[in-house]
Amino acid sequence: MSSPDYALHEVCVVACAEAWRGDGEILASPIGVLPAVAARLAKATFAPDLLMTDGIASLVSNGVVEGWMPYRTVFDTVWSGRRHVMMGASQIDRFGNQNISCIGDHARPKAQLVGMRGAPGNTINHPTSYWIPAHSTRVFVPKVDVVCGVGYDRAAALGPSARFHGLRRVVTNLAVLDFESPDHAMRLVSCHPGVSPADVVKATGFPLVVPEHVETTRTPTTEELRLLREVIDPQGTAARELGR
């Protein structure tokens, strides 16, 4: 077999793009460079109706400004549920509780991060996915220090108030994961080419649900590679988020 004609970051981009498949005419909010490239790929191929902002206050479609989306409208859209965000996570646990606030004791943290931002409101109101560029036991932890994004165990405890909660998928540099297990614990869905389930288990700091059959993550099509390299990300910015 000849060596593959795609790079790891391109596999990750496609896996992130897949998060928005079937979402229809909702706001896709990718946080970070690789998710942004991924959302644009999704929109350029199988999810053409997605709404996306320029990160300032405009809705932009195929390079044309088509609408106004200041922060106030973003917040309204979050609470209306017509949005699917892909956030990062400094820590994430078995049920998808996510931390971007700080590491250590909240009163005097070892490391202050950006803050919980809209993670609580996002996760309780609309679909959420995660992109984690360095899959390791530092990030995939038994217990997060601050619950920003709400996980399935906490959502279950809320009852009907959490009826709009839903975590779709977690994409990392190693694998694609979701929460489609009986108690919504994190499950391994597919490993990227060259990665084994054992590699993923080893890099995860909690017991992972590993089905008998784990697929290999879908690799980019020729057309997806062309779009990524010639149109969407000719500078290869998505690659820079890996291997840090």
Partner: protein
């Protein structure tokens, strides 16, 4: 109509120790930095700062003026983490009332409407509630009986915001793409201070932008300060972009011993030459 023109220092001299101050803008975008500079020059202390935070909160932390921060994040946008805020947090120097950014908006809106709270799902299940025992939940009185966060009104003693144009009585015009939550900050506050790039005659306002740009009217404003480049180094589009070099120098100063004192000296001097 009253002439509300004053200077940044005179406007800030009306404030007192221990006040809760709301700061407009977002991250490192259209922050009222001329007024923040005046706060830095003042003897004020023990402030509670409510902000979609950027260098405004960072500088006030660095200067030791902050007792408590109510925030959802602190970021310089092009530099993800606010260095002085980070240092203050890691030293345990400030009380951190960290909430979801939508909860922050709702708290301002509740205060603006003189309501004790507004309901929302944002915060449910997260540590935004566990970390903030001053926040409670409420049960819907209707058939759904749903439990919701009762986001408490964030009543402000004062609000400071920076806009593009204003007239002498405080009719203020935002020409940029996003008003952020500046009007809510003003409506939630007892004392409202607006700085602007340029004071113009009232009849000039509509020549510069459509009616919708007049987001803040004089009934929402107590003091008007003309402060050219008054948001710098944060962005004030379309008048000027963020001064990335200046922001980088600010962030770098946090890594050096004595860095804040050196930065502070330069930053406050620039104000004098800038005429604000």
């Amino acid at each position: 109509m009253a002439d509300k023109r004053t200077t940044a220092d005179a406007a800030v001299a009306q404030l007192a120790d221990g006040m809760t101050i709301g700061i407009g803008g977002w991250g490192s975008r259209r922050k009222p930095m001329a007024l923040v500079r005046a706060l830095l020059r003042s003897p004020l202390k023990d402030l509670t700062v409510v902000s979609f935070a950027g260098p405004d909160l960072g500088m006030l932390c660095a200067a030791g003026k902050v007792r408590r921060a109510v925030f959802g994040f602190a970021s310089l946008d092009s530099i993800p983490l606010e260095p002085y805020f980070r240092a203050a947090r890691q030293a345990g120097a400030i009380e951190a009332s960290e909430i979801d950014e939508g909860m922050l908006q709702w708290g301002l809106y509740a205060a603006a409407l003189r309501l004790p709270f507004l309901p929302t799902r944002a915060g449910l299940g997260s540590d935004a509630l566990a970390l903030n025992p001053w926040l409670r939940t409420v049960r819907s009185p209707y058939d759904d009986r749903e439990e919701l966060v009762a986001m408490r009104a964030l009543e402000l003693d004062a609000a400071i915001v920076h806009v593009h144009r204003a007239d002498v009585s405080g009719n203020a015009q935002i020409l940029g793409p996003d008003a952020y939550f500046d009007d809510l900050f003003c409506m939630a506050a007892k004392r409202r201070i607006v700085s602007c790039e340029r004071i113009v005659r009232t009849e000039e306002l509509l020549a510069r932008g459509p009616l919708q740009t007049l987001r803040i009217h004089r009934g929402m404003v107590d003091a008007v300060v003309e402060a050219p480049r008054g948001a710098g180094f944060t962005s004030c589009e379309p008048d000027y972009p963020r001064d990335e070099a200046a922001q980088k120098a600010y962030a770098a100063s946090a890594q050096e011993p004595g860095g804040w004192d050196a930065f502070r000296a330069t930053y406050l001097t620039e104000t004098v030459t800038g005429g604000a």
